[in-house]
Point group: C2
Chain length 130, copies 2
DNA sequence: AAGTTAATGTTATAATATAACACTATGTAA
DNA sequence: TTACATAGTGTTATATTATAACATTAACTT
């Protein structure tokens, strides 16, 4: 399957927090929540976030500057991400669609260029908010 | 065609600057460049940027916190944007592909939900950097 | 044991973005 | 014309997001 990464203490603390959260978490909210566990400075948070993004355990929602745990077993590499975002309640869901990822992975632009990596964010209203 | 928006002085100054720029511009770089024209404060820049994004004259590159002028006549509404980004030279190009926009506009997730708005950022190496 | 790489802890600071408030311009309607 | 509403401005202050720099420690290789 996919390579296991042994997380360090800080990485594990921060991953666990994000993983438990029902919504994307922002860096300084993470910082606030882990201060009781000894992580005191923004940089400690950002360094763990960088690593977790890099190994695909979490993703950054660019339009929100927030982070969510990956729950899509097919994307353990952080190279092809798609999300739906509710513009009212800010609920974010990772989209796992074989058709979509195939289409985007094979997309070529006018110059015939293919891209190995992409990030797609859909916006709309979730079921509850409609 | 599309509705004309009469830009205000600040909006026009800032749009002209972004439109002339060969690469995406960041807010504080814009601020620096327009200070000689009397725009002195970040908020004046951000307000103009917000409006220009809203009416589709410019787009925000979320992964870069930067802004480029729209050169895609088919997207005067800022609801469906796609870009390619070179990870070396940071060149950004707006992608104008009927196939892609049709595919994404019609994309439905597992719940059958359709999204009216999306932003897609592709990453790779541009011709020059390969 | 020595060398290498990755991670940590810490302080300071840079870069990005918004709040609040008083004021001005513009268009619309009584 | 006056009143009203809406959008934009100018300004100061502040909030939020993110990185630089440096000394130290941990983990892995040879
Ligand atoms: Zn994922
Ligand atoms: Zn919702
Ligand atoms: Zn455009
Ligand atoms: Zn390039």
């Amino acid at each position: 399957m996919h390579k296991e990464h042994n997380l360090t203490k800080n990485q594990q603390i921060i991953f666990d927090l994000i993983d438990k959260s029902p919504e994307p978490m922002k860096a300084y909210s993470i910082l606030f929540n882990v201060q009781k566990k000894g992580i005191k400075a923004p940089l400690q948070v950002y360094r763990a976030l960088d690593k977790l993004v890099q190994i695909g355990k979490i993703h950054k929602i660019e339009s929100r500057n927030a982070f969510i745990a990956c729950h899509n077993s097919s994307c353990q590499v952080a190279k092809a991400t798609a999300f739906s975002i509710c513009e009212i309640c800010e609920k974010v869901t990772e989209i796992s669609s074989a058709g979509l990822s195939k289409y985007l992975a094979n997309f070529k632009d006018k110059d015939g260029m293919k891209y190995s990596k992409y990030n797609l964010e859909f916006f709309g209203l979730c079921k509850k908010c409609r």
